[in-house]
Amino acid sequence: MSVLPPVRIRVRFSKLGRVRFTSHRDVARMWERALRRARFPVRYTEGFTPRPQLSFGLALPTGCASVAEYLDVATDADGVDAAAELSRLSPLLPDGVDVLAAAVVPTGTGSLQEDVTSCEWEIEVPGTSPGRLEAAIRQALDASVLPLERERKGHVVTDDVRPSLLALTARRAGQGARLHAELATRPRGLPPSELARAIGVELGPARRTCQWIERDGSRWEPLVSTGIPDDTTWERAS
């Protein structure tokens, strides 16, 4: 039992290909098992049911791909060595889940859940021309309120989601279009499926490309990676 505060290692990882159909909880279990297989010295909670101290960022909706997933791992080991070990963990993770970066988190850094303010998405829009997508986007951004019925703890509530739309742009992609979206995470996140209903456009596969922490007029990623898989391979990594 260490009296020193644990070191936190932040990991950025991908979720591409078939494995994107697993849930947030599934991803947590994959990591727990991979860390045990690696005999990585994760810190455990005290008490009756010791749990590994892992803290995941914002849940990624089941079915969405990502190159910007985050996880903080608490350990009593040396931080630099531990980060290096975690950066080599990909072979113990399922296909499509790869470590993109790992680094020691400076003390005083907030948790992923608290800090992240927005997410960027690339969303396929098959069967819609960029022009039509552009028109739908303009209409949504021009609206002063954008009411959306959604479920919250078993109740249907109507929220104004207009403040969540930070940026929306349309691009041509093959036969259809691609939507680039930056969506706020507060007061409540807006997943691509709800964005589709809010702007009235049927959306295809989505990929989270960035998570942003914005504070005092500047913004940064929780952890930058230089080795992100390129655009042509993300859809069918399997």
Binding site: R18, V19, F21, T22, S23, R25, D26, R29, M30, E32, R33, A34, L35, R36, R37, R39, Y44, F48, T49, P50, T62, G63, L92, P94, D95, P205, S238
Partner: protein, 655 residues
């Protein structure tokens, strides 16, 4: 083989739990299909999260993929939403590994673990794009099935080409060779292939046998060809040590039942509980050597990253090396207190609680015992010889050592059962609550009550199942008797589902029409309460000209032909009858591992022996032996070494 993945992928965005359909488990193989290799598709006819952990399929998956002449892939029943999407898009049943259509395989092999999954078997054959009736399938994959339910295969006889009785480890290889030879010949008919398969010991091809009826009753099931044996015997793997499988247990990406490392410590059980089909058909006891168990646990945990290991068997506290096996995990520095051990099927005694205390040093959540009967009289009838003192001292030990929740399993609808026996369940459970209150303010005792379904190849195979009305009345008695007791939580299995299970459990070949009726009227996933519908089953019975009374509720007579008389689990029919009579006379029968042989037939008939490491009963275990615990080490022991096979018809004590 063509991958259907591009057509499957778009469906996954619209279904619940899409990861059920993506494969990618740790341990999954990437089979290399090639000419000359027999392609097996192993199927579990229920949802992925129920089917994936099935150890039988995982064992065969590895054994087949290790062969040069075979490949094996897997599939499970798509949930109803996925099935609707597949049918709408014209996507057939596909394998998880290569997304290949099921119809491209040489063999579709089903595991049959529960009767109510049978409608899913038909549904999967249909989803594969094949006719559901064997007689309509002149070509395409052969459909085979194994598992415990294969010991009465008649309700599926019209749909499945061949059944495997008993342990499958050796048979799958032999069937592969037969199928490969047939394919290489290139000219033989489907009938030729099936007759060749029927020549493999342990393989039952129903189309080679003809049931005869007289006045609406089965009178015999006889071979149609001279080439097939009049009685098909089960297969038994004599030495578990030769089969250390699964070596690479599958670790799924999604949460499944029994989501942990499973290591089988022994197969078979001779406790002799008379209601228990598993204990009868898997005899004799074959223990895995302790060193092998330890190695499988150590290697398995390191490979999988699981934080829980189950030492599995029909009664794991009976394993000779159980203490050592548990201690190894608990004290392994590599596990450092983070790995928990679970022992399914615990005996009811203080030794067991001691073992559980060792295991659950930290997490003392709940302990489960299965006294099964509410009174000593009832437990003598079913040969589950747990005395009240055994149960109360086990429960006392549990509460005194920190547990606050105890779960008790019971059966209702047992032979000779009176209302006093039923109410005895409430009395036992209430007494357990009182014991608990001596230690803690808040305790919970859950009494979980299931309706008894008589099973083939057991002493109770002649017994008429309680009617659905009678089972409901008995549940009502228990509800009244337990009402107002805050610490006592009564749960019960739906008597309607018990009744449907009874239709299939001892049904003859005519019940196949009932299964087909239920399936054709949308009755899939009948194991699931949200999909189960007894009305479909009773309508199916009526359409087939059968009745619940005749199929389920009626007592069978000693001389009556049973639908599984031409299939043998090694047990002499007159042994079973004698044991039934002993049951009715309230006489218990000792565990033959540690007492003289009473010639049930499971060993002697096949020239097998029990493989146990200890010649004495495990410390403290009175259950099933009825012996004074203090007497444990002095039970007269005689080991079978070699004996001439018993003569057909020779009964118990006829040695």
């Amino acid at each position: 083989m063509t991958s259907l993945w591009p057509r499957i992928e778009p469906l996954l965005a619209r279904v619940t739990k899409p990861a059920r359909y993506i494969g990618g488990e740790l341990g999954a193989r990437h089979p290399d299909h090639a000419a000359g290799k027999v392609a097996w598709l192993l199927l579990y006819p229920d949802a992925y999260e129920i089917g994936l952990p099935n150890q039988g399929l995982q064992i065969l998956y590895e054994i087949l993929n290790e062969r040069d002449d075979a490949v094996a892939e897997r599939a499970y029943a798509p949930w109803t939403d996925m099935e609707a999407e597949m049918r709408a898009a014209g996507v057939p049943l596909f394998s998880l590994e290569t997304s290949a259509a099921a119809s491209e395989f040489d063999v579709l092999a089903f595991n049959l673990s529960a009767e109510l999954t049978y409608t899913n078997v038909l549904n999967l054959i249909d989803l594969a794009g094949l006719p559901v009736r064997s007689s309509d399938r002149g070509a395409g994959p052969v459909v085979v099935a194994g598992g415990h339910c294969a010991f009465n295969p008649e309700p599926l006889a019209d749909f499945v080409d061949a059944f495997v009785l008993g342990d499958g480890e050796e048979v799958v290889g032999e069937l592969t060779e037969v199928i490969a030879t047939h394919a290489a010949g290139g000219t033989g008919s489907r009938a030729d292939l099936l007759i060749a398969m029927a020549a493999v010991p342990g393989v039952y091809v129903p189309s080679c046998y003809e049931p005869r009826y007289d006045a609406g009753r089965l009178v015999a099931t006889e071979p149609r060809f001279a080439e097939v044996p009049p009685v098909v015997d089960k297969r038994t793997v004599a030495d578990l040590a030769e089969w250390p499988y699964p070596k690479q247990q599958l670790v799924p990406l999604v949460e499944v039942v029994h989501d942990r490392l499973n290591v089988e410590v022994f197969r078979g059980c001779t406790r002799g509980c008379r209601f228990c089909q598993a204990g009868m058909i898997t005899r004799p006891v074959r223990e895995r050597p302790l060193e092998q168990v330890n190695r499988m646990v150590r290697d398995g945990l390191a490979r999988t990253g699981y934080d829980e290991v189950a030492l599995t068997s029909l009664s794991s506290a009976d394993f000779s090396g159980i203490g050592e096996a548990v201690t190894q995990v608990v004290h392994d520095p590599q596990c450092s207190g983070q790995v928990s051990v679970s022992l399914p099927s615990l005996r009811v005694d203080a030794f067991t609680v001691g073992l559980a205390a060792e295991i659950q040093k930290v997490r003392r959540t709940g302990l489960t015992f299965a006294p099964e009967g509410g009174t000593w009289r009832m437990r003598q009838v079913i040969n589950k010889l747990i005395r009240e003192e055994d149960l109360f001292s086990a429960v006392d030990a549990a509460f005194s050592q920190g547990w606050r929740r105890v779960k008790l399993y019971f059966l209702i609808g047992l032979p000779t059962e009176t209302d006093d026996d039923v109410l005895g369940i409430a009395a036992l459970a209430s007494r357990c609550v009182e014991i608990g209150r001596g230690y803690h303010r808040n305790v919970t005792v859950t009494a979980s009550v299931g309706g008894f379904v008589p099973k083939p190849h057991t002493p109770f195979q002649w017994f008429g199942q309680n009617t659905v009305t009678e089972l409901r009345r008995k549940v009502g008695l228990l509800r009244d008797a337990t009402r107002g007791n805050r610490g006592l939580n009564l749960r019960w299995h739906d008597p309607a589902a018990t009744t449907a299970e009874g239709i299939v459990s001892r049904g003859d070949r005519r019940v196949g029409a009932v299964v087909e009726h239920v399936w054709r009227h949308g009755g899939t996933f009948q194991e699931w309460s949200e999909h189960f519908d007894l009305d479909l089953w009773t309508a199916g019975l009526e359409a087939a000209g059968l009745t619940l009374e005749d199929t389920v509720y009626r007592h069978r007579s000693q001389d009556e032909a049973l639908p599984w008389d031409h299939l043998s689990a090694g047990l002499h029919k007159d042994f079973l009858w004698q044991d039934f009579e002993d049951a009715l006379g309230e006489h218990g029968l000792e565990d033959c591992r540690w007492t003289p042989c009473y010639d049930c037939g499971a060993c002697t008939g096949y020239g097998l022996e029990h493989v146990v490491a200890s010649a004495v009963p495990p410390a403290g275990g009175s259950q099933g032996t009825g012996q004074d615990l203090a007497d444990g080490g002095r039970v007269p022991v005689r080991f079978l070494t070699s004996r001439a096979p018993a003569l057909a018809g020779s009964g118990r004590g006829a040695s």
